[in-house]
Symmetry: C2
Subunit: 467 residues, 2 copies
């Protein structure tokens, strides 16, 4: 990267601090288990080869840039998504991976359409919004109504008699981490007290007039009202207006509609195991994204990192005893049809899914993995983690997984999620600004290295990772 | 401010460094001129009262928030601008300021209209844009054409034979500070080689998919072609596409149009001088803004800071010998009609304009002032600057002024511009994100204090500031 923006610079300080922490941790761990015949001794050479290969060039970054530029955002139901999947299947076969297939699943097809929010009183100006996934549209002329700003559901209840006929803005303005409460259920709660649409404060810690979309719910018992995210700036502004006693009137127009389900595909490719081909280490992310930005962080990077990890195992001629399978799941964002479809299609294999590894938090500087599984498995993974100390990515913490491997984990598969420096992730998450220029080739390569080493060693070690 | 975003946090490191510099500087200066009967001795008490009053509450911030929320962006030709001016005239009179008047000037009336840029190849997606001020529109169906990406005018010349019938993207991707070369003149140069529209990389060092608008030129001899700013992200993307040999096709739609000039007003208010009422210290900023965001930084904050500075002189019962006049100039952004109109209306007074002070770089933490004028005047101002050492805002540097006081400075008036920590200014400049939540009440108060002390002492000191 020739130059990094101040937005990126600001994270380097945080990263430096994080790195120091990681080093401290690694030193602690390295005092453990280093005798002969340990996993660390046995796999040091292979791990170092994988790490060296992962860091050797910008192939993964260039591939991710090609994918995100050429196909753009990859929303379920879109031509972009299916074109990206076609390309991926072809490129995986060209890579020499085995059993490259697209497994069909039906996915929802929500279309955003044109949308706008215009402040009408106390002055007239346009606001930046993103409709929430699954929202109904408004009539063509829009909905013009007064806004009632509430902090949370308790505040809504306290002002329930003021909500009828209004547009409720949920302005939960304290960022305590990713919290989808109001995005998911705000429309249901507001409709119950007679609101005719909702706005939510974007789920984000920072903003440059940046709206964030995401999934949201309706239920059977309340009217389906339109719903959209406003920026932190506009949420703050409407809060100030209400605090001053100013009447707030807006006109919301949304062309959103839900079309019939369409066919999509999960993408699978393998390095088949040399001794236990039926035992599977699955790693991946989701190929679909929201319909804005490029889905570079969420989750193009995760998919490409997992793909590159498996490709490196293949390219180096490593022959793991078990099968290493990369999966690019479809429709994580607004339906989970890919993850559920994979589980259903592979129901007979689930007991032989030894470990699932997902990257869906952005391919920033990796720290290690969060793991959900047995204590015996955890102890083994901590040993494997020592092979990643050299790149400060060996920290194995308790608890972790991912949305796409969730259905398999619910059936008993041990699962882990790549953990990374998440400082910036929610600045860009589900926005126009989720683009590749925010990512760093070296950090992506470190993610590839961590996933490759972890997947390969678990696939090749004598012992089957215990459940 | 209850909480500051990471975008804001990141600047605190820079600020801390700047503060250390400022302290070092102050120590150097404080070794100078501290004998009896110096300006510093004479005005220490008044200066401290002004500073104390400026820092006492959040009145200025609340007033700025009220103005920006209630009237919104204040673009020349808009109802918002004239409503803000009406309110300002009324509020200044209620403040007890003297000679509160609106001086009429005709201003341009450019209207943005609906606008969109859709990438058609290699994939279809919507891009975030802002049309450049003064642009012509496109036909209603838009212009669909291939994009030619160039770095600069030399690169355009080298590829002149490829530009005909295309949309040229000026992607000058090295930020070396604010440079409007391509925004101002790109359309002229591209039209000369047959391009049918231009896009420019937004003039900014950082982006969260943030387009930046601004003024731009046509000339008499070349066709007037549509022109818009794209985000850094999309400029980078199109550069990568071209570098890969991918064909880039976009559809640009702009409803921009220029309507007949309309009436606006410069706002003036005074504390009339007790001994030399005809001698004037003028301070201010511009009340107009671009038609996006709130114009909180550019330049609502400058106007309110100058206004508050004059109000404090009034409220404290200080009676400067010369007149202190606050001016909120209109139409700085796309015409300079306010500044030129003021000069013309006050042509007989210009020789008695002792000093002009402008704030138009955002009301962030002030460092002092940049001054353009004689060496004798500079030496006096450096002395006055010592009164601002306590708030680290006393650094007087050579060279400075402001767009609105420019026409007066061209006629011989000494001029100075408030200098501030400019780290973030161009992140938000001319964007939807120029909103009040990026500003800090205490930093705004420091700007008020600096302007109040400087204006008051120059207005009251025995010596007329030499030209």
């Amino acid at each position: 990267m020739k130059s990094r923006s101040p937005l990126i610079f600001s994270s380097l300080v945080v990263c430096a601090i994080a790195c120091v922490s990681a080093i401290s941790f690694s030193n602690t761990v390295s005092a453990q288990a280093t005798g002969p015949d340990t996993i660390v001794d046995r796999y040091r050479a292979d791990a170092d080869r994988l790490i060296e290969a992962a860091l050797a060039d910008s192939f993964a970054y260039d591939r991710l840039a090609y994918m995100t530029d050429t196909f753009g955002p990859r929303f379920s139901g879109s031509t972009n998504l299916e074109s990206a999947i076609d390309w991926m299947l072809e490129a995986m076969a060209q890579d020499g991976l085995q059993n490259v297939i697209g497994e069909e699943v039906m996915v929802p097809h929500w279309v955003r359409g044109d949308e706008s929010l215009t402040l009408m009183e106390p002055h007239e100006s346009n606001m930046q919004i993103l409709g929430l996934g699954g929202s109904v549209g408004t009539p063509p002329m829009g909905i013009t109504a007064e806004v009632l700003v509430v902090k949370d559901f308790d505040d809504l209840d306290a002002h329930a008699d003021e909500a009828r006929g209004k547009i409720v803005l949920f302005n939960n303005d304290t960022w305590r981490g990713y919290d989808t409460t109001y995005r998911r259920n705000g429309a249901i709660r507001a409709a119950q007290v007679g609101a005719i649409a909702i706005l939510i404060r974007s789920v984000a810690p920072a903003s440059m007039s940046t709206p964030h979309t995401g999934t949201s719910n309706y239920d059977e018992n309340t009217p389906r009202i339109p719903k959209a995210a406003v920026t932190l700036e506009d949420a703050n502004m409407m809060q100030r207006m209400q605090n001053r006693g100013q009447k707030i009137v807006v006109r919301l127009k949304m062309g959103a509609t839900t079309l019939p389900d369409v066919l999509s595909r999960n993408v699978l490719a393998e390095v088949v195991g040399s001794e236990f081909p039926d035992e599977i280490i699955v790693l991946g992310g989701h190929i679909d994204s929201w319909d804005v930005g490029q889905g570079a962080m969420d989750d193009g990077g995760g998919v490409v990192a997992a793909w590159q990890a498996v490709k490196l195992i293949q390219d180096l001629g490593l022959k793991p005893k078990r099968t290493v399978r990369v999966v690019a799941w479809t429709n994580e964002e607004n339906g989970m049809r890919g993850a559920n479809g994979y589980r259903d299609a592979h129901v007979d294999e689930i007991d032989n899914h030894i470990l699932g590894i997902e990257s869906d938090g952005g391919v920033f500087k990796p720290r290690g993995f969060g793991f959900s599984g047995s204590g015996d498995a955890y102890d083994l993974l901590v040993e494997i983690g020592q092979l990643l100390e050299g790149i400060e990515a060996g920290q194995i913490t308790r608890g972790g997984g991912g949305a796409d491997i969730g259905p398999l984990m619910a059936e008993g598969m041990p699962g882990m999620g790549l953990s990374v420096d998440g400082t910036e992730y929610f600045w860009y998450h589900h926005t126009h600004a989720d683009t590749i220029d925010k990512l760093d080739p070296h950090e992506l390569n470190l993610c590839v290295a961590a996933m490759a080493v972890m997947a390969y060693v678990v696939a090749d070690m004598d012992q089957r990772l215990p459940r």
